[in-house]
């Protein structure tokens, strides 16, 4: 029995509209920064998604901004009520992806795949026929791929990868973007295709259904097409590409097919990045040569605008990084009570709640998560006890400020992997993808005598039950609102 989900972008837009999380913009908007500025402001005020019906120069195309930039929209995408609390959204993700059930993709005929309604190949291919926005002032180019996924396949294992790797339009048939060597696609391209001097086929999927987007963001340990099936509770419908043996979601809005070229790099960036800065400069980066474009009639192009929190990159990456960390720690038998990565930290800070059952547990947790494939993407771990609400900022800040010893509780990890996008890193560190990490151990030492441990002073902890009950039952009688 599949879960409730939306098969395409269009069903999802309708669901957002019904929930009051969409604004339809009929007025013409300019692809040259105006559309980006609207979406940026929406992200900063956590507003409803704009659905642009009329884009300057691009009659017949529509756009859809900030598709998943709030927990409300994330809940809707998973078929949950919009006001579902964060821990329940997390529980739904874990339940679906830890069920052990496998849902391989369902292959559909070309005639049944809406993404093939228009097919453009050869000399007719022109990326400027698509409404790629100039997302931010100061960007190095127009970014066609801001909420998308690139499909690739390992040439040896045939494993499929879906990943979000940004792509800037360079010219009519060329896109450029960073493919970091430690990313899944980076491992395929840099360590297999480049040494063999073989182009790597790719398919960029723009405007996929929201669960495929979540799967592409997730650092899953299984191929993302199967992971997407787990979120749906049935296989995702896929169709074969025109120019390669890759498969793409059949209900996506736009597909761009081509080859990633070895032995050549062209300038890309700068770009407003998920950290909230333009950090990586214009530099030679990986080249995508486009062979074919297919799309649905009247395609709707999604637009994510990275910058200061909160955009969907920050929210979804934080969401899935934290929950994949939770799976990892549980698999090692660590008695954690939960893991939550704050989207406001631009997925740099994770909070882990644990039972303090042995000395050194915080360091063990940090070593596991920093050393995993999730490690390059974040650098701050906060370990709190099982009574601290990891979703409550006030409680977490209180724990860091009062339980973390400035010398004994802060542990530094040098010479780790980082990303070139870290704003705090020196230019030299960024070039080498070198990162440092820090653990804030907010657990009182176990060897302290019980009589030496500070007692937390809070409503819940320092009053007898009968007093608390009396106060709560009389709360409105005292004149307070409930």
């Amino acid at each position: 029995m599949p879960y409730k989900y939306y098969k395409d972008n269009r069903e999802f837009i309708k669901a957002l509209d019904e929930a009051g999380d969409l604004v339809t913009v009929e007025q013409e908007v300019d692809w040259d920064m105006e559309m980006g500025a609207i979406v940026r402001r929406v992200c900063e005020i956590k507003g409803p998604s704009p659905y642009f019906k009329n884009i300057k120069d691009y009659e017949g195309f529509e756009a859809f901004g900030a598709p998943l930039a709030t927990y409300r929209k994330l809940a809707i995408s998973l078929g949950l009520p919009p006001d579902t609390p964060i821990p329940e959204i997390c529980a739904a993700y874990l339940e679906r992806t830890e069920s052990g059930k496998s849902y391989p993709p369902v292959i559909v005929d070309r005639a049944d795949a809406p993404c093939k309604e228009v097919v453009i190949t050869g000399d007719d291919v022109n990326l400027f026929d698509l409404p790629a926005p100039m997302v931010h002032g100061g960007d190095g180019g127009r970014y066609l791929s801001t909420w998308h996924m690139i499909v690739g396949k390992d040439p040896d294992t045939q494993d499929i990868n879906w990943g979000m790797y940004r792509q800037m339009v360079f010219d009519e048939k060329t896109m450029v973007g960073p493919v970091l060597p430690f990313s899944d696609m980076g491992k395929m391209f840099h360590y297999k295709h480049v040494p063999r001097n073989e182009p790597m086929p790719f398919a960029t999927v723009i405007g996929m259904d929201p669960l495929a987007g979540i799967a592409a963001c997730a650092p899953a340990s299984i191929p993302e097409d199967e992971f997407c099936g787990m979120l749906m509770g049935e296989g995702v419908e896929m169709v074969k590409c025109e120019t390669s043996d890759l498969y793409v979601p059949a209900h996506a809005e736009i597909i761009i097919e081509g080859d990633i070229l070895p032995g050549i790099e062209l300038e890309e960036a700068p770009f407003g990045e998920y950290t909230g800065y333009r950090t990586s400069p214009r530099e030679p980066r990986t080249v995508y040569r486009v062979r074919c474009i297919t799309y649905r009639k009247k395609p709707i192009m999604p637009l994510s605008n990275m910058g200061v929190p909160t955009d969907e990159g920050q929210l979804l990456r934080s969401f899935s990084l934290g929950l994949e960390m939770e799976k990892l720690l549980k698999s090692q038998g660590i008695p954690i009570t939960g893991v939550y990565m704050w989207p406001e930290s631009t997925h740099h800070l994770v909070v882990i709640g644990t039972a303090h059952v042995y000395t050194g547990i915080a360091q063990q947790i940090a070593n596991l998560i920093f050393g995993s494939k999730l490690g390059p993407w974040f650098h701050m771990a906060v370990v709190v006890d099982e009574e601290t609400d990891i979703y409550n900022k006030d409680e977490v800040i209180h724990a860091i400020s009062t339980r973390c010893h400035p010398i004994d509780g802060i542990h530094l990890y040098e010479n780790h992997l980082g990303t070139p996008l870290n704003p705090f890193a020196s230019p030299e560190e960024r070039k080498k993808s070198k990162g440092s990490k820090v653990l804030f151990d907010c657990l009182f030492p176990r060897h302290w005598k019980e009589s030496d441990k500070p007692i937390m002073v809070s409503f819940n902890k320092v009053y007898p039950e009968d007093v608390k009950e009396k106060v709560l039952s009389n709360w409105t009688n005292y004149g307070f609102k409930d």
């Binding site: 040259d32 120069d57 691009y58 400027f128 026929d129 100039m134 002032g137 100061g138 960007d139 190095g140 180019g141 127009r142 339009v169 360079f170 010219d171 009519e172 060329t174 182009p199 080859d259 070229l261 032995g263 050549i264 062209l266 300038e267 700068p270 333009r278 950090t279 400069p281 214009r282 530099e283 080249v287 040569r289």
Partner: protein, 85 residues
């Protein structure tokens, strides 16, 4: 007069003026293809009147320098190797 911009990583003094060299410029014409990148062999100068077309320099993180230069395009270069075009 055509109008382009280009990115010079950290310091405009890094750029050797008036010397023919390969560079990447962006076409700023107000068309659907605005911001299309071109690889060219060209000469450029901080004197806005020295060559026929306008060039706006930017630093590597997109910082707007604010004063126009001029550029003369000598050759348009296709950066993609022939076998992969």
């Amino acid at each position: 007069m055509a109008e382009y911009d280009t990115f010079i990583l950290t310091d405009l003094n890094e750029f050797t003026q008036d010397q023919a060299q390969d560079m990447i410029i962006r076409d700023l014409a107000s068309t659907k293809a605005k911001y299309c990148c071109k690889v060219v062999k060209a000469r450029a100068s901080s004197d806005p009147d020295k060559y026929g077309d306008r060039l706006w320099p930017r630093l590597g993180r997109g910082q707007w320098v604010g004063k126009p230069w001029s550029i003369e395009i000598i050759e348009w270069i296709n950066p993609i190797p022939e076998e992969w075009r």
